[in-house]
């Protein structure tokens, strides 16, 4: 199942927690069989343009779903589903 319209991004400033959020998010998307490719963006200006100043950020369809911390996989799944 390929979902063309939805997008999931992890934005970071290169910190270790950002990498961790990206890895767990990939796993969460896989578990939910959403068929969406998770994008990892290492660009501070992108985060600022979204109106945020903390990293990491999990954005679903361009909207921040989690900001500034990396919770466990169940919470990440819920954040993705709530925002899709």
């Amino acid at each position: 199942m390929e979902n063309k319209t939805a997008s999931i991004q992890v934005l970071g400033s290169g910190c270790p927690t950002c990498k961790k959020l990206f890895e767990i998010t990939e796993k969460a998307v896989n578990d939910l069989s959403l068929g969406i490719k998770v994008e990892y963006i290492n660009d501070v200006q992108k985060i600022i343009s979204m109106g945020l100043m903390q990293s990491p950020v999990l954005a679903v369809n361009g909207k921040p779903a989690l900001v500034g911390f990396t919770p466990d996989i169940e919470k990440i799944k819920k954040a993705i589903q709530d925002n899709l």
């Binding site: 290169g14 985060i47 109106g51 100043m53 903390q54 921040p64 779903a65 911390f69 954040a79």
Partner: protein, 321 residues
């Protein structure tokens, strides 16, 4: 009653009963001091960092920015400095904070007040000051830090240095108001737990080394050993302390316990205070990172003003304490 009394009992038991070190010897003193301080500081750090993280989950930088974008100049400097206390600061957040503030229209002077207060008055330094010197010194430190942050921001704001910020910073703008995803108590708890664990993981080796050196100095170095080099009467002690404080940022956690012990050996309180402020507020790695968003001249102005403020505070406390 002393709330740390149980820790005292525990460290006495460890030193004299478990390790069977003869009481009243230099070795017993040093080991007892080391165990007591390490346990006390680690407990204080955990409790206070956790509490501050919970508060911070209610006041993320995005909300702080919204508050600051609606304040006039002087109120803005005061509030920015106060909010800087609860904001965590590592040099990695300097750029996002700077860009986020300036691009949302927060004045440069207000942004600098925040950039000065945030690393200088941080919870790790405060816990260590509290543990090593007591609440009076910790309060004096907070208060002087606030005054330096407010005044530095006001002065930089008056200097009209916008042209010393890299032009790309002003090419984008962003809205000061952002809708953040909701956090419930379980999210706040996870956030605070992870943040506390991250910090403890990072600082514990420095703290243990700092306290160990401090314990050794406490036990073995004669009192007043340093007075002839760094006592109140030595005018150059304060600027010297500020200069050697600049490259030491990453070890702030280890330096405070060490300095705590040195103070007992004759370094005056104002000099100690100036040294600790320089360690936390002026850091060489942070300057390097700030170079991406501002010209070297602005970094020099910023560090010069803050440095002078710190030296002034050092002399003031040498004089009155």
């Amino acid at each position: 009653m002393d709330i740390f009394y149980p820790i005292k009992l525990l460290s006495d038991w460890l030193t004299f009963s478990l390790f069977t070190i003869t009481p009243k010897t230099l070795l017993a003193d040093a080991i007892n001091f080391f165990i007591y301080d390490t346990i006390k500081i680690l407990i204080l750090l955990t409790v206070i960092i956790f509490a501050v993280s919970i508060i911070r989950s209610f006041l993320p930088p995005e909300k702080i920015r919204f508050i600051l974008s609606h304040k006039n100049k002087y109120t803005g400097n005061v509030i920015a400095s106060l909010l800087g206390i609860i904001t965590p600061f590592c040099s990695c957040s300097a750029i996002p904070l700077f860009l986020g503030f300036v691009q949302a229209g927060v004045p440069l002077g207000t942004t600098f007040s925040f950039l000065v207060a945030s690393p200088m008055i941080n919870e790790v330094a405060l816990v260590l000051l509290l543990g090593m010197f007591g609440w009076k010194v910790a309060l004096i430190y907070i208060f002087s830090g606030l005054v330096i942050a407010i005044l530095s921001g006001i002065i930089i704001g008056k200097m009209k240095v916008e042209n010393l910020v890299e032009p790309f910073v002003y090419e984008s703008t962003t809205n000061a108001q952002t809708d953040l995803p909701n956090m419930n108590w379980s999210d706040r708890f996870i956030y605070a737990r992870d943040y506390t664990w991250d910090i403890i993981k990072k600082v514990w080796p420095y703290i243990i080394i700092g306290i160990a050196l401090g314990a050794w100095i406490h036990g073995y170095v004669p009192t007043d050993f340093l007075a002839k080099y760094a006592g109140v009467s030595k005018w150059y002690a304060v600027p010297f302390a500020v200069l050697i404080g600049i490259p030491l940022y990453s070890n702030a956690a280890g330096i405070i316990p060490l300095v705590g012990a040195l103070t007992e050996k004759g370094i005056s309180m104002g000099t100690t205070m100036a040294f600790m402020m320089a360690v936390t507020a002026l850091s060489f790695p942070e300057f390097m990172i700030l170079k991406r968003v501002m010209k070297t001249k602005l970094i020099l102005i910023f560090s010069g003003i803050v440095g002078i403020g710190i030296m002034f505070t050092g002399y003031l406390f040498n004089w009155i304490l």
